[in-house]
Symmetry: C2
Subunit: 446 residues, 2 copies
């Protein structure tokens, strides 16, 4: 049996063993997960990955095989005591988790998630939490930009072959959260109910004796779903053949190479001349938000876009760089912060208050838990209490609706796709209460 | 039960259903997987991902739940016939696979893998094969560059938090294949026997009342493995405290922020003054091959490097862009090629012949299977025959040895880290036999 219990950095286990040896394993602490700075090409992020995280925390346990391995980790032979490894055998996560719901738009310095529990359990799970939230939030955030470019045109997620098999499934879900219409990844449909969609591949055409035969066979097999890829040999000629083979059954054609503006106009003309005015043109091939913006600006008659590589492996901002930092030592009732230059953290437990005006998000305040801001919406809500779910997990449709509402509430300038000038950034301020606390912690540490 | 059977693009299943409907599902074909062009910042690739692929092909089957889902895929309701879905219920991969062993250095246009089987099975597996090989080969190829920069210094893989949980495990393995000394990812140690290593985190220090106490506790818990992270508050002061707390037990210190050149010199001086001349300095924090090269050129006294983000999410070349193309229709005894501009493929079945001189790789020739090149080493070997393993899987140590030998045999110019000028590229030519075949196919298609 595979469990994710060992999907962690060795030092999490080393530190856990160290805490255990000194009787500190049950000391109660809080960690918060946040992004220090937005990547250059992101004006906001879209929270995703929480469902993965909550599933992991609720299922977390060590198998006999893993326990046996820990007794023998070559790098640390003998460093893990018998008692510590026995402790792990019965380990279950029993902490509390507060987090922004998936689909929430968020910004730098804002805690996306807070976890409170024993030093041992909160430390052990750091790697997985960062891994899931960095990845899925990264994809959802890029997907939101692509949707901004696409406007009312549908975008299909085609990235599976450009990322690892399991990440492909999570990425398909994250893209759907942020507004993509569907994915080609069938497992994402099976596991998460993401709508699946697709056309055909070049190999369909190439495995038939001729393009005509390939198209005729496809239309016969899928009379209600005839989407044909027409660029295997020559896009214009391929379109003529598609029209001849499928006639009124031709629901759509896909273009995957060449000059998409010129070709889409030519293909549209051919389709219209054949009376196929409802037949859609889908474009794919190294597309991202800037290329889609340009095609739309030029009036390319494209009904939908397929996006893959640049969604799952964005070249503009490959990572969002979330971090997970100790903020509170409950045993000592002491807020904690790290002061190394450029890597500062906010001490204490935080809530993010979003202040809206006329339905638009105006600014956020990061404050302490005790604060109250008139007309402000607190973004962090409780999910786990002593390891148990205390709130129903939103359905994927609800998460998607949250993202839609949140993105619509953003000030228009945040939807621009170029890097933000400092004065264009969304305002995230520190409350007076939190400012005072930072000052206190600073004085104590100096 | 989870199986990877649905980790595929919908169109693979759609096309499979289409082939099935027309009785073409058993038609015998070959596909080859290759990279069209090397990414700008790669002078070569290091093959990885084959073990993942072979495991997938050997285990591939559909569960009852997946079968039930396929009967109801909303996008295609009714498009998959009862008989087709029943066929999938008993489906097993029974094709043949030839591929370069993991650790092989490879180049653009060279098939890394060839699969021969029924149209249905070879098409169904495309997505997973690309996914695994693109990801793992991408990481191994970046890792080889980082090792080139690090020379005889050890490099530790610290990327788990910057990629998704399962990809982190595969990435740790791929980095080890290409020469990394160890990983922090414990699951990679458990599953693949990759050596694991680690130090401590800032939270260890922050969860104690003082840095002194934190360091003393760590040295007491791990007297033989005392690696301390010294930059939580002030690196120089932290080093003094580490020396005071651990004394001769101090195996190493890690610097994770600030000016690594200046700090490493200062830290080295303090360690040497305390007689700790064997104590190592490990540096981490957004490192990659260029930064490591610079630190070494400047003589930074750093004994080992930790690399994470830039390994698993390289900003220079985020993807390698492998593709999978139909090359042969065995039923019609017909080589197949795609001719769309910029997306051409090589028709027919290929072998890659590597010509060495004085132990150095001089050039490669992509030829047909029937060819024989004196003193040339054929790189593709058979792994699966009718779905069964016909050659023992190399151990991870063997794969790593292959990579070491292959990298050492590369001409020196290929180890440079800047983008290659055209005249610096490794020579990959097309054999006369293959040139003739390309000409024939071109004439037939035009």
């Amino acid at each position: 049996m595979r469990t994710p219990a060992l999907m962690t950095d060795l030092y999490q286990l080393t530190m856990a063993a160290g805490y255990f040896r000194h009787g500190l394993q049950d000391k109660r602490v809080s960690f918060e997960l946040f992004v220090r700075r937005l990547p250059e090409h992101r004006r906001y992020l879209v929270m995703a990955g929480l469902e993965t995280v909550l599933g992991y925390l609720r299922e977390l346990r060590f198998t006999e095989g893993q326990i046996a391995y820990l007794r023998e980790v070559p790098a640390l032979r003998g460093a893990f005591s018998y008692e510590f490894v026995e402790y792990l055998r019965d380990f279950r996560f029993q902490g509390d988790v507060w987090a922004m719901p998936e689909g929430t738009v968020c910004f730098a310095r804002e805690p996306l998630l807070r976890i409170t529990g024993t030093l041992l359990e909160t430390q052990l799970v750091e790697t997985f939490l960062l891994s899931a939230i960095n990845t899925e939030t990264g994809v959802a955030s890029k997907a939101a930009r692509i949707m901004q470019a696409a406007g009312d045109r549908q975008v299909l997620e085609f990235g599976s072959r450009r990322t690892s098999p399991e990440e492909a499934v999570l990425s398909a879900r994250a893209a759907y959260v942020a507004g993509f219409a569907a994915t080609s990844n069938v497992e994402a449909g099976y596991r998460f109910d993401v709508p699946v969609a697709g056309t055909a591949a070049h190999s369909w055409t190439m495995s038939h004796a001729s393009e005509e035969e390939a198209f005729t066979h496809y239309a016969d097999a899928f009379p209600k779903h005839t989407y044909l890829l027409v660029d295997t040999y020559d896009t214009v000629e391929g379109t003529r053949r598609a029209i001849a083979a499928a006639g009124s059954r031709l629901r759509g054609v896909r273009l995957d190479s060449g000059d998409l503006l010129t070709l889409s106009r030519e293909v549209r003309r051919l389709l219209d001349e054949a009376g196929l005015t409802e037949t859609e043109i889908i474009a794919s091939g190294d597309l991202e938000e800037h290329r889609i913006t340009e095609l739309r600006r030029q009036g390319a008659p494209i009904n939908g876009y397929g996006v893959g590589t640049e969604l799952v492996r964005p070249s503009d901002s490959p990572t969002i760089g979330g971090v997970y930092k100790l903020v509170y030592d409950h045993s000592a009732d002491r807020p904690v912060a790290k002061l190394s230059e450029g890597k500062e953290t906010l001490p204490g437990l935080h809530q993010v208050y979003r202040i809206k005006r006329h339905g638009k998000s105006e600014r956020d305040v990061v404050g302490t838990l005790a604060e109250f801001h008139v007309d402000a919406e607190p973004l962090l809500v409780e999910w786990l209490q002593k390891g148990k779910l205390v709130r129903p997990l939103p359905t994927l449709a609800q998460v998607r609706a949250t993202a839609r509402k949140e993105l619509a509430a953003l000030p228009d300038r945040l939807h621009r796709l170029d890097p933000a000038r400092p004065e264009e950034a969304y305002e995230v301020s520190i409350s007076d209460g939190l400012s005072n606390l930072i000052g206190e912690v600073r004085r104590q540490q100096h």
